[in-house]
C-alpha cells in the first residue's frame, strides 16, 4: 500500500496524526513519516481534498475553537562564532578602562530568541584625522573638533557615550596628504591618551601604505589589542600582508579581514591570516553598502556567512563588522529634496540607523557609526533586543493601533 492509498483508506485522522507524530504504527507495519510524506501528493494536505466519502470528517463548522498548541523547539547548531576581545586593560598589558568581547553567537541573531545573546554588539564611533568631504548634516555635531582627533574622540566618549572609537587615518592616503606612518602613529597615541575605550584603527585603503602605517601603529601601541582596519587580499598581492599580520601577532592586536561581498575571498583571506595570528584575533568585514545602493547584497552575504559558520564552516566563524557610516553615501541621505522628504538632518540619521539595523538582524557584531541620532536609535534597539529574559509585553497592547486616536501632521 502506498501513501496515497493510506490516506484514502484512513482519511483525515491519519493526517491529523501526521501533523503531530514523527512516526506512526499501523497494524502490521510501520512507516517513517518522511517516507510517507514523500509519496503524498502535496494537495492531499489541504483539508478540502482530504475527506473521502464515508470517512469520518472533521465536524462541519466547529462552534468551539479547535485548540492547536504551538510548541517551540530550540535548534542546536554545530558551529559557534569565535569570541574576539577588543582593547586591553592595564592588567592585560594595555591601558583601556575595560575590554569588550564580541562574537560568540551560537544561533542566528535576533530571530527566535530561544537563548540569551552571548555578547552585546558594539557600536564604535568614527573619528577622522583629516577633513574629508562630509555631508553637512553628518558633520554638524562634530564641527568644533574636526581638526583634532583626540578632542573628537573625547566628545564621542563623554558626550555621546561611545564605548569604542574608530580612528580613520585617511590623511595617510598618498592621494590626500600622504601623512607618514610615524605621524599617524602619533595621532593614535594622542587618542589613546585622550580616551580609555578600545580603539579600531582605520587605514586609507592603499595596500602598501596601510601596511607601513599599521606596522608603526602596532609597535607604538603594543599590547593595546587594537583592531587594525583592515587587511585585504590586495595586501597579499602586494606582498605586504605578512608584515602587518606578523606585527599584529607580535604586539597582540586584532586584524580586520576586509573582502568585497564574496565569501570565497573572505575564506581565502582568513586562511592566509591563520598562518600568522590565532583565529581569535580575526574579525571580518564583508562590505557594507548603503541602503538603496546595494544593502541587500551586504544583508544576504552576512546571512549566508553566519548560516554557514553556524553549520560548521570554521573559516567563517569570526565576528563581523559593518561600516554603517557608509549609509551617508546614499544621496537620499544627504541631498536636498522636496519638502515632504524633510531635511538631511532627519533623513540622514534614519538612513544610517536603517542600514545598521538591517545588518544587526543579519548577525553583525560591531558597528562603525557616526551620527548621534542614528547611534541613539541603534542603542535603543540593542537594549530591547539583548535584554534577557525578554521584557514582558502588556496584554492587549499590540492591537491598540486599530482603534487608537492618531492625530498630528502625519
Amino acid at each position: 500500500m502506498n501513501g496515497r492509498d493510506l490516506v484514502g483508506a484512513l482519511g483525515p485522522e491519519l493526517l491529523a496524526l501526521l501533523r503531530t507524530a514523527g512516526r506512526i504504527e499501523l497494524e502490521g507495519f510501520s512507516l517513517e513519516l518522511d517516507e510517507l510524506e514523500f509519496r503524498l501528493p502535496h494537495g492531499a494536505l489541504a483539508p478540502a481534498a482530504l475527506v473521502p466519502p464515508g470517512a469520518e470528517a472533521v465536524p462541519e463548522r466547529p462552534s468551539d475553537l479547535l485548540e492547536a498548541e504551538y510548541v517551540p523547539e530550540r535548534t542546536e547548531y554545530p558551529g559557534r562564532i569565535r569570541e574576539v576581545v577588543l582593547g586591553a586593560t592595564r592588567r592585560e598589558g594595555g591601558s583601556r578602562a575595560r575590554a569588550l568581547t564580541v562574537g560568540g553567537a551560537e544561533a542566528p541573531a535576533f530571530s527566535l530568541f530561544d537563548r540569551p545573546i552571548v555578547n552585546r554588539p558594539v557600536i564604535s564611533m568614527d573619528v577622522f584625522d583629516t577633513r574629508v568631504p562630509m555631508p553637512k548634516a553628518l558633520r554638524a555635531p562634530f564641527e568644533e573638533v574636526r581638526d583634532d582627533p583626540a578632542a573628537w574622540a573625547r566628545l564621542n566618549v563623554h558626550q555621546f557615550g561611545a564605548k569604542a572609537i574608530t580612528v580613520h587615518l585617511l590623511s595617510t592616503d598618498p592621494l590626500i596628504k600622504n601623512t607618514s606612518p610615524r605621524k599617524a602613529a602619533a595621532t593614535v597615541e594622542e587618542v589613546l591618551q585622550a580616551v580609555d575605550v578600545p580603539l579600531i584603527i582605520g587605514g586609507c585603503g592603499d595596500p602598501r601604505k596601510d601596511a607601513d602605517v599599521f606596522f608603526e601603529v602596532a609597535a607604538m601601541a603594543s599590547g593595546e589589542r587594537l583592531l587594525l582596519n583592515s587587511v585585504t587580499l590586495e595586501m597579499a598581492t602586494a606582498k605586504t600582508l605578512e608584515k602587518v599580520a606578523r606585527a599584529a601577532a607580535e604586539h597582540g592586536h586584532n586584524l580586520l579581514a576586509f573582502t568585497g561581498l564574496e565569501l570565497n575571498d573572505a575564506k581565502e583571506l582568513n586562511r592566509r591570516l591563520y598562518e600568522y595570528v590565532p583565529p581569535e584575533q580575526i574579525v571580518m568585514d564583508l562590505t557594507t553598502v548603503a541602503l538603496g545602493y546595494g544593502l541587500e547584497y551586504s544583508f544576504s552575504i552576512h546571512e549566508r556567512a553566519r548560516q554557514a559558520a553556524l553549520m560548521g564552516d570554521a573559516e567563517l566563524q569570526h565576528p563581523t563588522i559593518s561600516g554603517s557610516t557608509n549609509a551617508w553615501s546614499a544621496r537620499e541621505a544627504w541631498m536636498p529634496m522636496p519638502p515632504t522628504y524633510g531635511g538631511p538632518e532627519r533623513r540622514g540619521p534614519l538612513w544610517e540607523a536603517e542600514t545598521a539595523i538591517a545588518l544587526l538582524l543579519a548577525g553583525v557584531d560591531i558597528f562603525m557609526m557616526s551620527h548621534p541620532a542614528a547611534i541613539g536609535a541603534m542603542r535603543e534597539a540593542l537594549d530591547v533586543l539583548t535584554s534577557w529574559p525578554l521584557e514582558e509585553v502588556a496584554e492587549g497592547r499590540a492591537n491598540d493601533w486599530v482603534t487608537a486616536a492618531i492625530g498630528g501632521e502625519t
Partner: protein
C-alpha cells in the same frame, strides 16, 4: 515534520508531469526548458496552454501541489488592482528569492472629515518616487474604525470606494462595524482585520458572506494563531493572514520572535497552520506613549524596516511623509530583488545629447542603480557625452572597486569593446570619483589620460564646466 524545500524540487520531476509535446506554445523551446523555469518560479503553470486541457487535470493538480509555496499566496482587492500576499518559499532570501513584495498599506480612519480623508487618499495614491528607473508606490489603504461607530465607518468606507482604487484593509475588532464597512465596498475583496479568540465566529461568517480574506489576530500567542487557523480552515476559509501582534519599544523582541517562529514553522517544519502571510503594524509606533509625530514616524520607519527583514508580507503604516516612507519602500524593493540575478543593466556604450568628436567620455559600473543615477544626472546637467558602461558584475562602483570587479584592466576592456575611440578625437577618460584609486593603473592600462570625476554623479555638471575640455596634457 519537514517538507521538501523549494530547492529540492527537480526540473525532471516537474517535466514528467508536463504534456511533453515540446509544442513551444509557452514560448520555451521545449518542455524541459519550461520545467526548469517553473522550478525557478520564473513562469507559472498557466503559461502552458495544453496543460490546462481537461485530459491533463490530474497532472495539473499534482504540479500545483508540487510547486505550491509553504506560505500560502493570498490575494486581496478586486481583479485589476489585486495584490498577492505571501507565497513564500524560503526563510532567507539567499536560499532562493522572495516573491510578492510586502504590501505597504497606509492607514486612514473614520474620524477624518470627508475632505481630509479625500486629501489623504489622494496623497497615498499619488505618492511616487523614481528609484533606478522604477516608480516606488504605496499599495493599499487600511481603514481603521477609531470611533467604533458603524455609521462613521460606513461613511468612510463609502468615500474610499468612490475615490480610491487601491486594495483595502478594513480594521475593527467589532464584527458589526466591519460588516457595514465590507458591505459598503461591494466586490472589492477587502482584507478584514481581524478575527481573534473572542469574535472569530462572526468574523468567519463575514469572511464567507463577503468572500473576503481574513486576518487572524493573537498578540504574542502562537497557540492562539494556530487554533484560529485550524478552526477557520474547518469552516472552509483558506484565505487567511496572520497577525502575531506588533509591539514597538520593549515588546519588539517578542514581535520579531513571533514573526520568525511563524515563518520557520511554516517553511522549515511544514506547519500548515502557520503557513500564511504575516501582517505587521509599524503604525503601533503612533499608538504608544510617544506623542511627537516626528519621533513616532522615525520609530515607525525603523520598525517597518525590521519587519521587512523579518518576513512581513503586509505592513500597516501611518506616516505619510516622504522621509519616513522612502527608506521603507526602498528596502522593500531591495529585499525583493532576485539575489540570483544582480540588478544589472547591459554593459556597452551609451550616448547622451548630441555628442561630437570632442565630447567627454565617461565610464561607470553596470549596477542598475549606479547607471540610472548617472544617467539622470547627465540628463539633468544637459551634458552631451559618451558613457561607457563596464561590466562590474552588477555591482556599484564602490563595491565593485572594493571587490576588484571594477579594475584598471576591466576599464581598459570596456573602453576597447565600446569602440568609443573611433568616435572621438581626444584620449581623455573620466572615471568615477569612487574609483580614484584606479586612476594611475587605468591610465597605464588604457593609454588614455584619466580624469577623476566627482564622487557623486550629481557633481558632473559643475565638474564638466570646470574641467572640460581638459587642458593640454
Amino acid at each position: 515534520m519537514a517538507r521538501r524545500s523549494i530547492t529540492e524540487t527537480s526540473p525532471i520531476e516537474v517535466y514528467r508531469l508536463l504534456p511533453r509535446t515540446n509544442c513551444g506554445e509557452c514560448g520555451e523551446p521545449n518542455c524541459m526548458a519550461f520545467a526548469t523555469r517553473l522550478v525557478n518560479r520564473e513562469v507559472s503553470l498557466e503559461s502552458c496552454p495544453p496543460l490546462l486541457l481537461p485530459e491533463h487535470d490530474s497532472d495539473l493538480a499534482d504540479l500545483s501541489a508540487l510547486l505550491a509555496p509553504p506560505v500560502r499566496a493570498v490575494r486581496i482587492g478586486q481583479a485589476e488592482r489585486e495584490i498577492t500576499l505571501g507565497g513564500k518559499y524560503v526563510v532567507q532570501r539567499h536560499e532562493f528569492t522572495y516573491h510578492n513584495p510586502t504590501c505597504c498599506a497606509l492607514a486612514v480612519d473614520d474620524t477624518l472629515a470627508r475632505e481630509e480623508l479625500v486629501q489623504r487618499l489622494r496623497t497615498i495614491s499619488e505618492f511616487s518616487y523614481n528609484y533606478i528607473g522604477r516608480d516606488l508606490r504605496l499599495d493599499a489603504v487600511a481603514l481603521r474604525s477609531a470611533t467604533g461607530d458603524p455609521d462613521q465607518f460606513r461613511e468612510a468606507a463609502t468615500t474610499i470606494a468612490a475615490t480610491c482604487k487601491l486594495p483595502l484593509v478594513l480594521c475593527s475588532p467589532d464584527p458589526d462595524v466591519l460588516r457595514v464597512g465590507a458591505e459598503a465596498v461591494p466586490g472589492r475583496r477587502p482584507l478584514l482585520h481581524a478575527a481573534d479568540r473572542t469574535n472569530w465566529r462572526e468574523m468567519a461568517l463575514l469572511a464567507l458572506d463577503t468572500d473576503s480574506p481574513l486576518v487572524v489576530s493573537a498578540p504574542d500567542d502562537l497557540s492562539g494563531l494556530r487554533s484560529l487557523t485550524k478552526t477557520l480552515r474547518a469552516w472552509g476559509i483558506e484565505d487567511l493572514v496572520l497577525d502575531p501582534g506588533t509591539f514597538v519599544g520593549p515588546g519588539l523582541a517578542h514581535t520579531i520572535r513571533n514573526f520568525s517562529r511563524c515563518r520557520n514553522a511554516a517553511i522549515r517544519d511544514g506547519d500548515e497552520l502557520l503557513g500564511y502571510p504575516l501582517l505587521g503594524a509599524p503604525i503601533a509606533a503612533f499608538a504608544g506613549e510617544e506623542l511627537d509625530p516626528v519621533r513616532c514616524a522615525f520609530d515607525e520607519a525603523l520598525t517597518a524596516s525590521v519587519l521587512l527583514s523579518r518576513y512581513a508580507d503586509i505592513l500597516i503604516l501611518q506616516g505619510l511623509e516622504g522621509w519616513s516612507v522612502l527608506p521603507t519602500l526602498i528596502w522593500r524593493f531591495n529585499l525583493y530583488t532576485d539575489p540570483r540575478k544582480p540588478v544589472a543593466v547591459e554593459a556597452g556604450l551609451r550616448e547622451f545629447g548630441s555628442p561630437d568628436r570632442v565630447s567627454p567620455v565617461l565610464v561607470t559600473a553596470n549596477y542598475a542603480l549606479t547607471y540610472f543615477t548617472v544617467e539622470s544626472d547627465i540628463k539633468a546637467a544637459n551634458i552631451s557625452c559618451y558613457l561607457v558602461v563596464a561590466d562590474t558584475g552588477g555591482l556599484s562602483v564602490e563595491s565593485a572597486v572594493a571587490g576588484r570587479y571594477f579594475s584598471a584592466a576591466g576599464i581598459a576592456e570596456a573602453l576597447e569593446s565600446s569602440g568609443v575611440a573611433e568616435k572621438v578625437d581626444h584620449r581623455v577618460l573620466v572615471i568615477p570619483g569612487l574609483a580614484a584609486r584606479l586612476s594611475g593603473e587605468a591610465a597605464e592600462a588604457t593609454g588614455w589620460k584619466v580624469l577623476v570625476g566627482p564622487k557623486d554623479s550629481s557633481g558632473l555638471g559643475p565638474f564638466m564646466k570646470e574641467r572640460w575640455p581638459p587642458g593640454p596634457a
